[in-house]
Amino acid sequence: MKKHRTRSTRLRTSRLLAVVLAFGLIVAACASDDDDDAGEAPAATEAMAEESMDESMDDESMDDDMDEAMDEAMDDESMDDSMDDAMMDLSGTKVTVFGPESSEEEAGAMQDALDVFAAATGIEIVYTGARDFSDQINAQAAGGNPPDIAVFPQPGKVGDFAAENWILAVPDEVQAAIGSQWPAGSLDTVTFGGTLYGVPNKTDLKSIVWYNTEIFESGGYSVPESLTELQILTADMLADGVTPWCVGIESGPATGWPFTDWMEDLVLRVQDENVYDQWVAGDLPFADPRIVGTAEFVLELWNLPGAVYAAGGSIAATPFGDNGEPLVAGDCAMHRQASFFAAFLPEGTSVGPGQTIDVFYFPAVAAKGNRPVLTAGTYVSAFRDAPEVWAVMEFFGSAEYANARQAAQAARQGGGQSGFLSANLNQDLSLYNDLERSFVEILQTASPARFDGSDLMPAAVGAGTFWTEGTSAVNGDKTVAEAFAAIDASWPQ
């Protein structure tokens, strides 16, 4: 009886095994089918092995040897060795783009714009936007699974990636094609050691103040023309019992960045662009009295009793986007925030000259006679050396992209602000609405224009201690001197 049972169990086991083995064989057959699909000639096993060796070597050394990569690209297409053919016909290839813009409107508009190019060339272009792009692109690059093209919000990171040889220099042809389309200096931000590593994608204007026109009208206030006038305006409003400012620096894992923006705007104004450049480059420490003084200037303004309305109870607790509603409701008169802030205003708010909410340029020091502007934006860089990738890169730098994206994003936002600005010189400005066209004008008349400093600093500071220690200072947990000493200590050697 016992024996019989074990025997039958064994029989059943072996039958099961046979089934599974048969299944395994089928699967193996399928798997080899897949290999064929990958585009390798089935007979040339040696070549296949050789190529996989090459690939693994590429992974390690990542040298941008153009010829070798071109060969590889042509192997992929299984075409003959004619270079022209490879440049002409890119249909059937695929390019992946990865970036931080992930909402239905932004990511959708990005995809719409890329689809225009895809339809023209036959390249399949897929844009994917993830909210924690900044951390993920680090992981993907370090882990060897990068996209073809990434959209970097921080030029400093483009520099880091270039130093690691993770991204590729923009080839001369592409550079020649786009170079003349952008304002002088806007490519310098992503040029490292004389080599260009990125192509501009989108621009944000940061030196603007959103204000409630009804408060200005009823209080008889006028738009300030200089920093001193802005201070006087603040004092006047305080005396009248009007809360002048809305401020909020909470932004999830990036909490603190609105404070860094205020700092940068004021360093540019109260000091000058040379001090700014030295500070951003790390040549001037945060502990320098000029930088500490600027921070104290900002905090003094914010800490004036009654000067700031914080929708979340305190400045550090208020998400910057939550200031849209109180600005419209008249809880405060002004909010200094970048051009994309329009989207955070309550639905149905009329924005623009003469409307409920308007915008003025964050004024400069009158005596200096300049018009400094703080900007930000995203740049695209390539991880894979292939003609289709460079074709897409070139498209990013073109006016066609700016126009297509502008039209698509405005349509997706359903009128009003599109939230997209481009600094491309050849773009069609008639696609913009009035307010956003005025932003482009501020950008174009800027002297000097400087890129957001925290995005240029090393990540440990610009996306690290500048935010966290700055937040401590704003929250009153530390003095400015203590916080800035900690930032200096964290600057990578």
């Binding site: 064994r10 086991t13 072996s14 099961l16 095994l17 599974v20 083995l21 299944f23 395994g24 699967v27 399928c30 096993t45 040696e46 092995a49 050789e50 060796m53 900044s134 951390d135 680090n138 992981a139 370090a142 880091d160 999830g252 894992p253 990036a254 909490t255 603190g256 009654g306 309305y309 914080a310 929708a311 979340g312 109870g313 305190s314 550090a316 607790a317 809880d331 090393p458 990540a459 440990a460 996306a463 690290g464 935010w467 966290t468 937040t471 401590s472 929250n475 947990d477 900690a486 990578p492």
Partner: protein, 519 residues
Amino acid sequence: MGALGGALIGVVIAIGASTALFFGANWLFDLAVDRWRTFLATSGALVGALIGAVIAGNDVAGGPLWLWAAVCAVVGAAAGIAASVLGTPSKSSRTRLSERGRLVTFLGPSLLFAALGLVIPLIRSIYLSLLDSRAAEWVGLANYGEILTNPNSLDLSGWTEIFTSRLFYAALVLIAVGLGIGMAVGRRRGRTMEALPGSIGPIAIGLFVLSFAVFTTLRGTVINNLWWVVVVTGLSTALGLAAAVLADGVRGESVAKSLIFLPMAISFVGAGIIWRFMYIARPPQKPQTGFLNAIWVWLGSLRPRTGGAWVAVLILALVTVLLAGLCAFGVKRRQTAFAIGAAVTAVPVLWLIYRFLGPGLGGSVPGPTGEPIAGTILFLQEAPFNNVWLMVVLIWIQTGFAMVILSAAIKAVPSELIEAARVDGATERQTFWNVIIPTIIPTITVVATTLIVLVMKVYDIVKVMTAGNFGTQVIANEMWQKAFTELNFGLGSALAVVLFLAVVPAMAFNIRRTQRADA
């Protein structure tokens, strides 16, 4: 659709291959006992096929993979048959071989996955932690030194403040009360100390409060982690056990358990949003949209000696009378635990009455004109108790975890045991403490150990809610920021190793204890 197909094919392949491997290996080791020659031939063929695949895969020589595998398999099988001619080992050694083989079959897959997914990364982290930020140069223990010397990770400078902390003295009083009760009852029964709810309870609560006093005066990332471990592990396990016990056999058990379990089903992203809504504060002149601040401000609006406050005092007075009655009932029935419980519960109620009569309770601050206006709590910004509000989120989530596992354990207590205890005249409470709790102690250890580890590794709540600002940083989030945001692999790995080393002793101790309990 293609990707779906691909994913499902992958699943089927994996499950099929695992099953094949499992039963195939067992079949093979059956052969070792009964049919030695077939066993040798089969295993020779398998080893041969593997070698062939490796040769072809590494391009040692040309030729397709299947050919190499097949040829080598035939060679291997032949070698196996040849070896069997040399003789057959004794039955006992064959049996031992078969047993060993089975052991490998049972343990192998787990060990393989653990080695690839955990052990190798651990070794790599230890190595990286000795290198600089870009993993280029050897820096020795410098990264560890930086962790220990950074005031953000460990700041003991405020330790003298513990003597000015009210929590500290409250804790001392509680512990003294517990010891006093224990000793008083113990003397009556001829022992120095008596462990009973009336003595253990105050001591446990006292120690808990004492930890709060310590953790609010000593600050830093490391201290925060310890604080998290004490509070979340303790409360989640206790509340989970309470929920499991209270719900056991009650009408609506599955509804109650599902609702307590619900937070586990909500993703961390969702949990972050939920608790933002709970904690949010708005300026005094606006209606509060955060639930907790709304309650707080409403309490604050009940000014002393106004109608609302009198109503509150009246209700509280009724509660006090009720508690006094319960206390008297307990004394009469010689139910000391009830009496003490009622008396202890009365203390905060009396305190509330005092607040409503005297200084007032809730969020209220003098406004610019002197009139009181709403005062809110910035739950996430006001250090050091913002840490506790973050812990509440994890307790809310993990109580469901503790409840499910402990509930399964309680259900598994053999009903014969419980019935036997009832037959012996044990009350419900005695059955619980003397039968159920001892039986599920190993499971409580498992739950507590798991929670300790989980809490030590917590990072997403902190990342989502405060990003480590306002003195709420924990090691795992710091590690994430260093390694992934700043690409400082040296420091990030060192933090990971510190985290690992901090947890291992507690784990090993608990596991040893459960093992000894089994033996």
